[in-house]
Each structure stands twice: as structure tokens, then as C-alpha cells.
Symmetry: C2
Subunit: 216 residues, 2 copies
């Protein structure tokens, strides 16, 4: 795989030891996420919107219902897409060295609206499977009217950077003598027992591709 | 409490029934979060950075180490701060009605750098306590050198909007007859057992304010 590009926007200036140029690391961060934060410029000011996404090879697909109307209806424009996982709270002996263990991917580019029907289905499938693997095959596929009502954007993964912090706190030497607990409180996303739609027909069990995700 | 403002930027155009004008709802979403996504405009293009924050009354404090160098060093500029909680995956009978249960807060404004020492400590305390309640009292407070090395930004909570989606899928009537399971897979943030710093002095137990957060 090609390493990630280093452009003026993606070069990690602060703590470059936390950056990664490995494309498989980028894929891993994107594939583990459910939502991204999409940044657009509206009337000169930034706007950040949480929205679903999906990845297929070197394309990131974004769902049209983002609230970023200009992006859906207007001419193509630059965006920034960020996906972040919080892995732990880093508890140091000093306030100054408190931190967060995280993995984040930041992608810059100009997404294009997908208009071809097959390509649109491909994008929607990636977005659906990102959120709920197995659901594309389980649920009713979009009909012509639904497809027409859905905007799909495709963003190439050509300008991206990755930042990762893991591990214990990095207190200053003298602080190690303090009588203060230090370490990491691990954070993860957990899935509870599925809650059936009150309108669910009787006798339809929770399918395996959903049930197996439950962590408690 | 004053209701949230409705400006051109914060008016929720898409699915306005998902918006909330209740300031206590805004506080609840912000207080439950650990990181925000900070949007800035750099050379005309958007940039979205995950970073820590803290709230105290109607001020949101942002930590200086965001990677948004222009924001830390340059003149004050507009930002957008978004905090999002994913509460569930909404599994519908049709692909079209798949969705995410979430709560999000979007704040617009022009943060100011905090320069007064006491005000800076107040902001850092809010940021630290947001991440790890109880740690400000437990850890060593910042010394003069550390304070000088830390940038704190203060953003008034004067222009904000809240969007919430909860509840089961909303499939179209005819789709209810399909032989497809539908419902919600609940998502939450979970905390694992604390992992001590390898350099931790023996005999220091995990304090209660950290131990009580563990969910598994």
C-alpha cells in the first residue's frame, strides 16, 4: 500500500511521534468507527456535523442527510472528515500530564456527489455495513424513489493523516515520588441487549449478525 | 435559564423535531462528554480536530494542545465545537430508514485566550474535571512554568444548538409486514479496570473517584 501523503495540511506538527504514515492504520481507524465529524465552511465560518460514513478501498462515502445543505446542493467544496476513538483516560500525577489515549484520522478533500445508480448503491451499502455489518443483506434495499431522495458523497482517501496516543502517563521525574495514583482508565464502546421495535411482528428473532455484537 | 438562541447558523433546518431549545439539555450533552470536535478554517479550508474541553456555567473551555496552531497563536477567529454521543444503532426493515440514536451539541463562536492566572486555573480545572472528575484535587496542580506553557481558550455558550434522535426505527407502513428484525442496538461508553502506570510506586491504591467509574 502507498504510505499516506504528507501535505501542508496533513503534516503533524505537534508531537509528530504520535503520527503514523501507514495506510493500514488509517483503514483500521476508519473501519472501527460508526460516525465521523464532517467539517465544512459556510459563509466563511466553520461548521462541524456528526454523520455516518462508510469506507470501500480508497473511497470514503458520506451520507446525504448531514445537515450540510450547501454540500448536498451546491457546487463541490473542500471538507475535512475526522474519525476519533477514545481508548483511555490518562491519569497522571500532575494535572499538566493528564491526557487521552486515542486514535484519530483526519481526511481532507473535495467530495463529489455520486449520481450513477450502481455507484450510489455501492456507497449506501458501504455506509450501511459500516454502521451495522450484515444489514445490507438482511434489510430491504432502497427502491428507486428512496435512492433519488438520498445524496451520497464520495471522498478519495488521498490526503489524510493519523494520530495516535497510547500508553501510560508521562509524568516528570520528580513527580514519580508523589503519593498519587497514576495510570490509564480504559474506555471502549459497548453494545447492550437489542431492543426490539414495539411494532416488530412476533416470532422474528434477533439475527446473529446483530446479537453477536452485544458486549453485555 | 435562557432558552438557546436561534440564529441563522443554529436553526435546525433538517428534521427540526430533533432539535431542542432547552439549555439544560445542552448542559447535559456537554457534561456527559470527554472530547469535542473543534472546527476551524485554515487558509480557507475546514479543519476538524478532536480535543478535550470543560464546561463551567455558560463558558466552554478548550485546551491549548489542539494542533490548531493558528487558533492558539493568531488573532481570535470563529470556531465550531461539536460534542456527539452515539446512543444506539437504529436497525430498520428497510436500508433507507437505518439511523443512529444520538445526542449532539453544536456551538458557534469566537473563543478568547485566557491570560489571567486565576482564570486560566479555573479553565484548566474545568477541563481536567470534565475528563476525570476528582483529579484536580488528587493530582499536583500546574506550576508557573506549566501554566505558561498551556493555552486555554474560553468560548461563550451563547450560540448553540442541540439535536437528538432517540427511539425505534420509523419504517414505512408496508415494510412492517417484512420478515426482518427491527429495533435498536444500544451503544454506550464503558470503562474497564484501571491499568496502573508501570512506574507507579507500590502501595498506592486506585482512588474511589476513579474506581467507581469502572463498568466491567
Amino acid at each position: 500500500m502507498n504510505p499516506l501523503s504528507s501535505t501542508d495540511r496533513t503534516r503533524v506538527r505537534r508531537l509528530p511521534e504520535r503520527s503514523s504514515a501507514d495506510r493500514s492504520v488509517l483503514y483500521g481507524i476508519l473501519d472501527a468507527g460508526m460516525i465521523c465529524h464532517l467539517g465544512v465552511v459556510v459563509n466563511g465560518t466553520p461548521r462541524v456535523i456528526p454523520t455516518g460514513y462508510g469506507r470501500l478501498e480508497d473511497t470514503l462515502y458520506l451520507h446525504g442527510s448531514t445537515g450540510a445543505r450547501s454540500l448536498m446542493e451546491g457546487p463541490s467544496q473542500d471538507v475535512c472528515v475526522t474519525v476519533t476513538h477514545v481508548d483511555g483516560i490518562v491519569l497522571a500525577r500532575s494535572v499538566f500530564h493528564h491526557s487521552i489515549n486515542y486514535r484519530s484520522a483526519v481526511i481532507f478533500g473535495t467530495p463529489q456527489r455520486v449520481t450513477d445508480t450502481d455507484a450510489k448503491l455501492t456507497g449506501l451499502r458501504a455506509i450501511t455495513e459500516q454502521l451495522a455489518p450484515g444489514q445490507w443483506a438482511a434489510a430491504r434495499e432502497p427502491n428507486r424513489k428512496e435512492l433519488a431522495a438520498t445524496t451520497v458523497l464520495a471522498l478519495p482517501l488521498s490526503e489524510a493523516s493519523v494520530k495516535i496516543r497510547q500508553g501510560p502517563p508521562s509524568d516528570d521525574g520528580p513527580d514519580h515520588a508523589l503519593d498519587v495514583w497514576a495510570g490509564v482508565l480504559p474506555v471502549r464502546q459497548a453494545f447492550g441487549p437489542p431492543s426490539p421495535d414495539p411494532l416488530l411482528r412476533p416470532g422474528i428473532p434477533v439475527p446473529g449478525h446483530i446479537a453477536h455484537r452485544v458486549t453485555s
